[in-house]
């Protein structure tokens, strides 16, 4: 009588990982590849959130807290997913002063119900078992948008990453994390926790260090700090990051370049610290070749391989849901729709300033038994183009020039056509709307037309989309060949 229908979505939370060998003798750990952060950290073997081994679920441990009164101007409070830290002015996130200490400490227990992670699947690292580990006594603390966090200490050790020796790269060993696996952050150095994160401290000037891409460049392994991300299709078991080069065989059409936009200038950052680009419009393309522009309001969006799904403004998600006849379920927290039979040929079209990335609707559909859920999540926070979008694109991140080049991804290509990046991205051209970038937030309005010129080509020119005038109604048009 008290039955409850639970929707189970299996095997749809994908993530991309690489294997590391750390220490002497080598210990194996797996980390998630993340363009949305910039630090490498691995899980320590003493993590109290782990359920087995010597890690007792009732073990008490110490969380260092910092008196937040010393960090005026903080814009975002550290998240506190479990709500145990209730002390006045406290927050998870010790300082990065090297002392490893904040202004106070509190002893807290991990609730037994939370200490249930299987930490063996992706491996942990025991610093005392490595004869070559050197701690540099700098505190590390990071928290993520999904409520996971990690804290520990930076250090160095012998480090091999997929047979690539990167010894000397600083990484953190998290002795406390509720994440099941570590993270290889390959973002801009300014996004490192020591510069913009919670470990940036008022007692020491924020600073950057050489993270993984920087180590590759400074070691001479690559000429420029740029890499190409190819997630392959949604059914593929492998993808590739090419540091310092572009593989022209992995995309179709033209590689267009847009600038990374600074969405945090109001917060005191004079240049971008994360991979935000401008979406100049969003539309839908149907199997019968009809097309509809939903909005041409400019939206800054984060290109983030560490996020599985895609997060768009609520108004945009509502427009997409309306087009698909999807109904919002407050119980599930998703839009629910009949499983579309043509989701491979229906496409969500993203205009990045005169060129399009066509993302198959199937990339955004979550199967849950007899129903389907729309895997595009409404957000009032940062718009994120996660893996479900990125799998449709070939994306070149140019960290030196603060630009992104994108083209339509091409799948099932066995040959390679690799070209080294020496300065600018080879064969890439500036997008027609290169200079039309987001500057201030605006309400999402319908209207405009991103389909003014032939869009039968991938990453094709769409005309001067930025001059389109928003109107009260959406525009439907046919492509012209």
């Amino acid at each position: 009588a008290d039955g409850y229908e639970e929707i189970i979505i299996t095997n749809q939370q994908s993530f991309y990982s690489v294997d590391l060998e750390v220490g002497t003798p080598p210990q194996n750990v797996t980390v998630l590849v993340d363009t949305g952060s910039s630090d490498l950290w691995i899980m320590g073997s003493n993590n109290p959130y782990c359920s087995s081994g010597s890690m007792s679920s009732s073990r008490r441990h110490v969380i260092n807290k910092r008196d937040d009164s010393s960090s005026s101007g903080a814009l975002v409070n550290d998240i506190n997913p479990f709500g145990w830290l209730t002390g006045t002015g406290s927050a998870i996130g010790p300082t990065a002063t090297g002392s490893g200490g904040g202004s106070g400490t509190a002893t807290q227990s991990v609730p037994a119900s939370e200490a249930t992670m299987n930490c063996q699947e992706f491996g942990t690292f025991t610093t005392s078992d490595s004869s070559t580990f050197r701690s540099n006594n700098t505190y590390f603390s990071i928290s993520y948008g999904d409520g996971t966090f990690a804290s520990g200490t930076f250090g160095t050790d012998i480090l091999d990453l997929s047979d690539l020796n990167v010894t000397g790269l600083s990484f953190a060993v998290a002795n406390e994390t509720n994440s099941t696996m570590g993270v290889l952050g390959i973002g801009l150095p300014e996004l490192e926790v020591t510069y913009s994160g919670s470990t940036a401290s008022s007692s020491r000037r924020p600073y950057t260090y050489d993270n993984f891409p920087m180590v590759l460049k400074n070691s001479g392994a690559i000429k420029t700090n740029a890499y190409s991300l190819y997630l392959n299709d949604s059914d593929a078991k492998h993808g590739t990051i090419l540091f310092g080069a572009v593989d022209h065989s992995k995309y179709a059409g033209t590689l267009y370049t847009v600038p990374i936009v600074n969405t945090l200038s109001a917060s005191g950052f004079s240049s971008p610290i994360q991979f935000d680009v401008t979406i100049n419009g969003i539309g839908i393309s149907y199997p019968d070749n009809s097309q509809k522009t939903l909005t041409t309001t400019q939206i800054p969006a984060l290109l983030d391989s560490g996020t599985t799904l895609t997060y768009l403004p609520q108004a945009v998600v509502a427009m997409i849901a309306d087009e698909l006849d999807a109904q919002y379920s407050s119980r599930l927290g998703y839009y629910v729709l009949d499983c579309p039979s043509n989701s491979n040929s229906t496409q969500i079209v993203f205009d990045f300033g005169g060129f399009h990335i066509n993302a198959s609707l199937s990339s955004f559909i979550l199967n849950a038994g007899n129903i389907c859920l729309l895997g595009i999540i409404a957000t009032d926070d940062t718009t994120i183009l996660g893996d479900s979008f990125l799998t449709n694109a070939y994306v070149v991140y140019d960290l030196d020039n603060l630009e992104i080049s994108m083209a339509q991804a091409q799948y099932n290509i066995t040959n390679e056509n690799i070209e080294v990046i020496t300065s600018s991205i080879p064969s890439a051209i500036k997008a027609p709307g290169y200079t039309s970038t987001w500057s201030t937030s605006a309400s999402i309005v319908t209207g405009g037309n991103i389909f003014t010129v032939d869009t039968s080509q991938t990453a094709s020119f769409s005309g001067n989309v930025t001059s389109a005038t928003a109107s009260a109604t959406s525009t439907t048009s046919k492509s012209r060949n």
């Binding site: 101007g73 540091f243 310092g244």
Partner: protein, 32 residues
């Protein structure tokens, strides 16, 4: 060769109801 090829694996995790591995860091900004 001046480039580094880093292949990665695509892994899947079972999840119930709440999906989305958002590894966007919660940037905590200080006044400069």
């Amino acid at each position: 060769s001046k480039f580094v090829k880093l292949p990665f694996h695509k892994l899947y995790g079972d999840t119930r109801d709440d999906v989305g591995t958002d590894k966007k860091p919660e940037v905590r900004l200080l006044k400069r």
